[in-house]
Assembly symmetry: C2
Amino acid sequence: MDFSQYFTVWNKLTTSQQALVNSSVVYRKEPKGTILHNGSADCAGLFLIKSGQLRAYILSEEGREITIYRLFDWDICLFSASCVLNSVQFEIIIEAEKEAEFWVIPPMVFKKLMDESAPMANYVNSIMGSRLSEVMWLMEQIMWKSLDKRLATFLLEEVAIEETNALKITHETIANHLGTHREVVTRMLRYFQSEGMVQLSRGMVTITSEEKLEALHED
Amino acid sequence: MDFSQYFTVWNKLTTSQQALVNSSVVYRKEPKGTILHNGSADCAGLFLIKSGQLRAYILSEEGREITIYRLFDWDICLFSASCVLNSVQFEIIIEAEKEAEFWVIPPMVFKKLMDESAPMANYVNSIMGSRLSEVMWLMEQIMWKSLDKRLATFLLEEVAIEETNALKITHETIANHLGTHREVVTRMLRYFQSEGMVQLSRGMVTITSEEKLEALHED
């Protein structure tokens, strides 16, 4: 399938803008674990995600992580072109959480399209609004929800993404998603196990009662 | 002074777009404490702030607050026109923290300008990027900084805004800015007092050592 299908503003660009994109777009395939963007020093361009899973996270000085949002097939990765967005002043890291295939529109082409085209600028606006909404959602979770509820929500998301109840994930990885310490996650998971919600084994968390997790998540 | 001075994209609009804004812009003056925008149900329009101080905050189901950002003279209030920004999906409340004078560009005029004009759409982009950067900054503070550091930072900001070391502010109000409970703020302020950083009296917090607060803030 052609990249223009993944670029929903395509039909609103002029012929010469389309030609410019066509002549500059680059296809990339990166293995799981690749860091695709590392803070404001990096500026690879706009990513149109064909397949895979990207994770955007921030890092504390002490090396703690928290996942801000994730991107999937058909999503657009905007902050990998953060140099074009002058007012965007934060350090975010984007990694391929699974093997990822995507097209890259180079920063200068992206900037030219934004400057010239109201539909393109509004397209970026719309993506920015979505990311801001995700960050605000996360802020509310962190401020008002206890960690047990956030852990329940995270496990249910993983079940939906992986399409299995048997999650291959370490306590350390879960802690990095939620912005907490491994020990805290281990303690909480053991409590979940004692309540019959999950079954723990080496490198695995198996969800045994989605209903009980749902109840906690919705509480 | 004319409102167009406060609308930095003005010179990039066409004559007919300028005429449209001219014929629809409304001047408002609201007393301290007025709720100017209350979640996604409201959509007053884009505010160009002539003078005053606005506070954007979120509210938990239990009535707890946390300040997300503040706006001052010359700032633009975007989320008071959130109905125009379809991808913006969060509930934010905006109140006049001090008496505020501002011009309002109605939502439908704002939408028409964005649809037609790349400079206008990029102007909105730039504001959105700034707000997102502020939210990300706050997220980092909440995740990685302890409350004593956040309280020190907040008091130093207040000193800068109010241009006095004698702050007329209650512990309850500080708690609502920081997203915590009054008791927690009171305990921390008493500790600050014992360390010679502040002097507490009824409805007042007087900063007695900016240096010590700075040291805590930068730590």
